[in-house]
């Protein structure tokens, strides 16, 4: 398990927790929008993919019906906004029959204690 609480520089980072899958609702897009704006303002931002939010990272996504934009290009854009810390709940991957090899971006996995520790260590966070 990776220690989530050590990095002093991150204690004031804004943690955006993404819990919804792409396409079916606008939660994921609107959550990423908040992350991008915060980063554009120079704030350190981290993302935690929990629950159905892990589906956001699934490899091989495309635009939706009626040309609905996907969120995968937004996720690929994160590095341009210097958002580099992506945390994923290992248990939520397991529950959905996925592994990190199914994901489109390099991530750091957390066990349940790690998820709780990350939440506890970040004074500023928003769930989408």
């Amino acid at each position: 398990m990776t220690d989530t609480t050590q990095s002093a520089s991150s204690s004031e980072a804004l943690l955006i927790v993404l819990r919804h899958p792409p396409h079916g609702s606008s939660w994921l897009r609107e959550g990423i929008d908040v992350a991008l704006v915060a980063a554009a303002f120079g704030r350190e931002v981290e993302l935690l993919f929990q629950g159905d939010g892990v589906f956001a990272l699934l490899e091989g996504q495309a635009a939706g019906a009626l040309d609905q934009k996907g969120t995968h290009p937004q996720l690929k854009m994160l590095e341009m906004y210097d958002i580099e810390r992506l945390w994923v709940s290992q248990r939520d991957l397991d529950r959905r029959g996925l592994t990190v090899d199914d994901l489109m971006l390099p991530v750091t996995t957390l066990d349940p204690d790690g998820v709780a520790a990350l939440h506890a260590a970040r004074p500023l966070s928003l769930i989408f």
Binding site: V37, A40, P73, Q74
Partner: protein, 116 residues
């Protein structure tokens, strides 16, 4: 045909509709000639240095389906055109007022939502 709502440009005998702030009504209308005409209409001249940046923006949009804020624009320019040009002061000189906004408009990217 889309009704030109406010200002039209005529490029190579074709009408190009723009909204009241000068953004293209339909992004499909964009071409390098349209960009030149838009710039001329705004009293700007597009040099090769301007075009390098417009091309970075169009490439950014193709990859990420979004127009960048200033910081990621600077980063994208630095990645494609080098350290010297990847500076906000350089972009400010090319596109005074607001490089991310002005250059995105000329590059035919969607109108931003005033979100920043």
């Amino acid at each position: 045909m889309t009704m030109p709502s406010s200002q039209t440009l005529t490029v190579d005998g074709r009408f190009v509709a723009r909204d009241s702030e000068g953004y293209l009504v339909s992004l499909d209308d964009w071409s390098p000639e349209v960009a030149e005409a838009m710039a001329q209409d705004e009293g700007r001249e597009l040099t090769p240095a301007h075009w390098e940046v417009l091309n970075v923006l169009r490439d950014f949009y193709r990859r990420y389906e979004a127009a960048p804020a200033m910081r990621p624009l600077v980063k994208a320019v630095r990645q494609s055109l080098g350290e010297e040009k990847g500076q906000s002061i350089y972009l400010m000189r090319l596109f005074p007022e607001s490089p991310a906004k002005v250059a995105a408009r000329l590059a035919g990217l969607p109108k931003p939502t005033n979100c920043l």
